[in-house]
């Protein structure tokens, strides 16, 4: 065991960074969900065979989402530095990292939400329409509740993805396990530090996944429940 690793444990530094990884991930996923959910709903609703087709809006939204989705996170961070500066007054540090994670995750969430809503049986939507439901009522009383298990699974997938992104955020000075692994581990040739970070990450991912899937299963009232395989 390297000296530096011992020091990291003794000073509690490693736990501090693990904790930062957890909360930045959860917080940015939460905010990304708040932004991505309505966009995903909008994408679904304005689709050409959606509730209220509006092809131009759908195309425009889809294009923005696709551009952001196809940008590698490292490049996205560099490209959006001014945006972080605008929102949090700085283009480095944890606050900037949060902004980056949200920018990267929101479009991802939007696509996941869109596809979750697509799984809702068209027949059920039809039935709701036949009962005189308005589009808003269909969104809030049919689409979202019926897709709930799938939406929860989507949230788990996004959380895990964002956790992966957050490791890269050390490039713009964000704290967390990524920083520990790169700065203390890689750059100072302490391989054991890298592996300790890997172990921490694996444990965090496992916990998020198990808890998330458990909740998704619990809420699902169908017999053939949503599958765990989808995440892995």
């Amino acid at each position: 065991m390297s000296e530096l690793l011992k020091q990291l444990f003794q000073s509690g530094e490693i736990y501090k960074h693990a904790w930062i990884t957890i909360w930045t991930t959860l917080l940015s996923t939460l905010i990304a969900y708040l932004i991505g959910l309505p966009i995903g709903v909008l994408l679904n609703v304005t689709d050409k065979d959606g509730l209220r087709p509006c092809v131009p809006l759908n195309r425009a939204l889809g294009l923005i989402v696709n551009i952001l989705r196809s940008m590698p996170f490292v490049i996205l961070m560099v490209a959006f530095l001014p945006v972080a500066k605008f929102f949090v007054g700085s283009s480095t540090g944890n606050a900037a990292m949060l902004v980056m994670l949200i920018i990267a995750a929101a479009p991802y969430v939007a696509r996941l939400v869109e596809s979750s809503l697509k799984e809702v049986d068209r027949g059920v939507i039809e039935a709701a329409r036949s009962m005189g439901a308005s589009n808003l009522q269909i969104i809030f009383k049919v689409f979202l509740p019926e897709a709930k298990p799938s939406l929860i699974v989507g949230a788990v997938i996004s959380t895990v993805t964002i956790l992966g992104y957050s490791a890269m955020a050390s490039t713009i000075g964000g704290d967390g396990l990524g920083k520990v692994a790169i700065i203390y581990g890689h750059q100072r040739f302490n391989e054991d530090i890298i592996w300790v970070c890997v172990a921490f990450t694996v444990i965090i991912v496992q916990i998020i996944q198990e808890v998330g899937i458990f909740i998704a299963h619990k809420t699902d009232k169908r017999i053939r429940k949503i599958k765990k395989r989808r995440v892995l």
Binding site: G132, A133, P145
Partner: protein
Amino acid sequence: MIEFRHLRKEYPVANGTLVALDDINLSIENGVIYGIIGLSGAGKSTLVRCINLLERPTEGEVIIDGEDLVKASGKRLREIRRNIGMIFQGFNLLEQRTVEANVRFPLELIKTPKEQANRRIDELLRLVGLQDKAKAYPSQLSGGQKQRVAIARALATGPKYLLCDEATSALDPNTTNSILELLKDINRELGVTIVMITHEMKVVESICSYVAVIDKSKIVEHGKVTELFSCPKSEIAKELILPGLIRSESTPGNKLRLIFDGSVTDKPLISTLSRECGVEVNILFADTKTIDGKIFGHMVIAMPSDDRAVAEIKTFLDKNGVTYKEGI
């Protein structure tokens, strides 16, 4: 009353347009059970979906109680839809809601006070015989039970009309009969006008009083079920009543179709016929059932070549009040 006037529905398809409904004119009187029958792809679902404007007609009018729905605003249309319940082949229940919450759904849409909604739900579940399943989820129910939930839900807002699109097609014969009985009760006791879409003559025969036959996007004949059944005019109606094989030339000789509309009581008719007329009667096809001691359905028998025997058979049938039709 539901009326269609010069209704036309086109769908844009890859190589032009597909005409799913062509110049449909039809009136459905209040209080009846009206069957709409046709083969797959004839346009039945499209037609029934035009009644509540789930499908917007390309041309023509859909008039319900004197109001043309095509001209109604979005808000007005949603109001009208609450007066038209609908059930489907696939049940279309909300899978994440209990039976009770499914029936509550249409009441939630119009913000019915909780107490009042609870009472209504109780009433409806009793009507369809599912009080004990109130807390169950759809995935825990059989097909027949799911359709009962769907019926309760469709009736929640007290509609005057009920549309059924192949409501029994996914069910076994026994369950089908129990659902049909329930629909009959609903029609009789609540006075709900029912429009039944089906591809099975049996369904029409057992509960409808009027029927329209739709073939290749057009209505080819319509009227009383008894009339259609005793003398179908269109090829397609004949086909739906009797399988083609029996009508075909593969069984030569003269045939007679006996039609039982419930006016004959259950008795060993054919053996009596054989004995009294002194002829051997060959039954080519039979599809009859006895309800409350009365015979319903029809039967095809081969006729002897001897003219005198034929006359005797006819006299016997007339005497016993059996309707019959020569040459099917």
